[in-house]
């Protein structure tokens, strides 16, 4: 099975975010980046499918030069090769323009299966998998908690809301977006890291794909959210804080 898995590089979870003047984007210079956590579950699922059914896993990422690091990490975990769609300003693209670029860059690969994480921890649109399926003319399923290969298709466990699940079947080739928690992503081994150095990463300039940048939406401004509640902050030494907080919960809020 030939599997393409999309991995995105996003600001690290504990990176202190500051917003550029005018609110166009965050300041990227002084923060660290990491692989989008939901995508690590998609990668793990791709590697497990390959181990079970043979084939190839290709890790694909779009982003500036630094996004190569995310591809390298995927290669170190066991992906066979990488495709880097290079664009320093791809954060400006809306979800549809992004997906059009991704689809154009991988169309010729003819993957049997494409996997994405559920959503990115930066924009958080959660649309890429569904859009890719539409643009490539393939069926899709989202929020996947289990994958079984049956004949020429897949049997999938979808998570619905409020504790409900559903089994669905779809034919291959297909696109899936994977729910976080489906598996336990592996760590790269030293051997894997060494082996990754010999693996190929093809770089494609996004602008060379001939995809229109025309966006259907535009982020006018990013800002720190306004508070909906007045929070009383309790300060002091840990012991003082503990005493004050418990006093307030007991006698002010009366919830203890």
């Amino acid at each position: 099975m030939k599997i393409g898995v999309f991995v995105k590089q996003v600001p690290a979870k504990d990176a202190p975010l500051t917003i550029v003047e005018g609110g166009a984007w965050i300041r990227e210079n002084d923060i660290s980046f990491e692989t989008n956590e939901p995508d690590t579950y998609a990668l793990e699922e791709a590697l497990r499918l390959k181990e079970k059914h043979q084939g190839e896993v290709v890790a694909i990422s779009m982003g500036p030069e630094r996004a190569k690091q995310t591809i390298k990490e995927a290669l170190a975990k066991g992906a066979d090769r990488g495709i880097h769609i290079l664009d320093a300003e791809f954060y400006k693209l809306g979800p549809l323009a992004s997906a059009r670029s991704l689809a154009a860059a991988i169309k010729a690969e003819n993957f049997d299966l494409i996997l994405t994480g559920l959503q990115s921890d930066d924009h958080g649109f959660g649309q890429t998998g569904v859009l890719l399926a539409e643009l490539l003319g393939r069926p899709h399923a989202t929020i996947i908690m289990a994958i079984e290969v049956i004949g020429t298709g897949l049997k999938l466990k979808r998570e619905l809301e409020a504790g409900w699940f559903q089994w669905v079947e779809i034919p291959l080739p297909a696109v899936l977006s994977i729910q976080s928690g489906i598996n336990k992503p592996r760590y790269a081994t030293l051997k894997g890291i060494m082996a990754a150095k010999k693996k190929e990463i093809a770089t494609v300039d996004r602008k060379s794909l001939g995809v229109s940048d025309a966006s259907t939406q535009h982020i006018e401004r990013i800002y720190v959210p306004q508070k909906t509640k007045k929070t009383e902050f309790i300060t002091g030494q840990p012991k003082e804080i503990a005493a004050k907080l418990i006093e307030k919960l007991r006698h002010e809020a009366r919830v203890l």
Binding site: K13, L17, L160, E161, V168, Q217, F233, T235, K239
Partner: protein, 326 residues
């Protein structure tokens, strides 16, 4: 502005987030002096459409087909595209449910349009509709606008509007209009099978008066004992945000949020939980919310009544000591 609202039902039962989005749609219609049509899609849903027509809207559209009995992304996208192309709305609104996430981007792309999903609000300023959504896991908000021609497609997250403010129809009942759609079995590539629930849940968090909830800030599975001790002293239970259950540090039935349980305890104490929207929708109805987090900018403080910026590994043991005093 001409708005088309797409409601959601499963097995002829409403997804009630539909009525939150209805309230938002009514508000936008009022501000833009527009009109509102609302769609019920499925099979055997005439009763629901009739119920919907009792709300303040211009018409209720009944979209029925044998192939729409069970949800499939192909069936719903193909049918709704026909409805949109005949109704010609400026804006299509949907509740941001798991089902909408599954088909709405496809529906939009099939018409060459984009979707602004997962909005938590909107503003109407200078004749411009601005959608507000969260980014970076709730650490920032963003104002997003559509560019280019409609129809525009947007969805609102659960809890963004109050369903109980959706206005009833002033003149009794809106017109119910059946809309026929063409759909063939071979166009539907997904085969939906049975719906089911996992084994019975071991703990009913909705009944706990106090929840001590842990997030990534708890750092390691062995530290959960600290939260358990505090919960016991407070007469409550331990719960968690999604990443903790994904890691297997606590079972899935302890998870609070859009993919877990929705709770409204007397006290919700969040330990090391950043407060992404998917978590907050599950707990914001708590009577009192207290949060301890080392990051002063964590979005959990937006909903907290009491906040402590600090190290939970210093503060929680001190709280345990304080509670053990008596």
């Amino acid at each position: 502005m001409k708005i088309l609202l797409i409601t959601e039902q499963r097995e002829r039962k409403w997804n009630h987030v539909s009525f939150e989005t209805l309230a938002a749609a009514q508000q936008i219609v009022q501000q833009t002096k527009g009109s509102l049509s609302a769609v019920v899609i499925g099979k055997g849903v005439a009763g629901l459409t009739d119920e919907l027509a009792g709300f303040q809207l211009d018409e209720a559209l009944l979209v029925e087909h044998d192939l729409l009995d069970k949800y499939t992304p192909d069936g719903f996208s193909i049918a709704l595209r026909q409805v949109i192309e005949s109704a010609k709305p400026d804006l299509v609104l949907l509740p941001h449910t798991y089902q909408v996430r599954d088909f709405a981007p496809k529906l939009a792309a099939s018409m060459g349009k984009g979707m602004i999903g997962d909005c938590v609000g909107y503003r109407y300023e200078n004749n411009k509709l601005i959608f507000v959504r969260q980014m970076f896991q709730g650490r920032t908000s963003a104002d997003v606008v559509f560019t280019g021609e409609g129809p525009w497609i947007a969805s609102f997250q659960a809890g963004s509007f109050r369903a109980d403010i959706a206005a009833k129809n002033a003149s009794g009942k809106a017109a119910v209009k059946p809309v026929s759609v063409e759909l063939k079995a071979e166009q539907i590539r997904t085969k939906p099978l049975e719906l089911f629930r996992e084994a019975k849940q071991a703990v009913d968090l909705t009944q706990a008066p106090v929840l001590v909830s842990v997030g990534r800030g708890i750092k390691a599975p062995e530290n959960i004992a600290l939260a358990e001790k505090l919960a016991k002293l407070m007469g409550g239970e331990v719960s968690a945000s999604r990443p903790i259950c994904d890691e297997g540090w606590l079972p899935m039935d302890r998870q609070i949020g859009s993919s877990g349980q929705t709770v409204a305890p007397k006290l919700y104490l969040a330990l090391g939980i950043s407060g992404a929207i998917q978590h907050v929708v599950g707990m914001k109805a708590a009577r009192t919310i207290a949060a301890i987090n080392k990051d002063a900018n964590a979005p959990i403080f937006e909903v907290a009544d009491y906040g402590v910026v600090g190290d939970l590994f210093e503060i929680v043991p001190a709280m345990i000591e304080e509670l053990e005093k008596k």
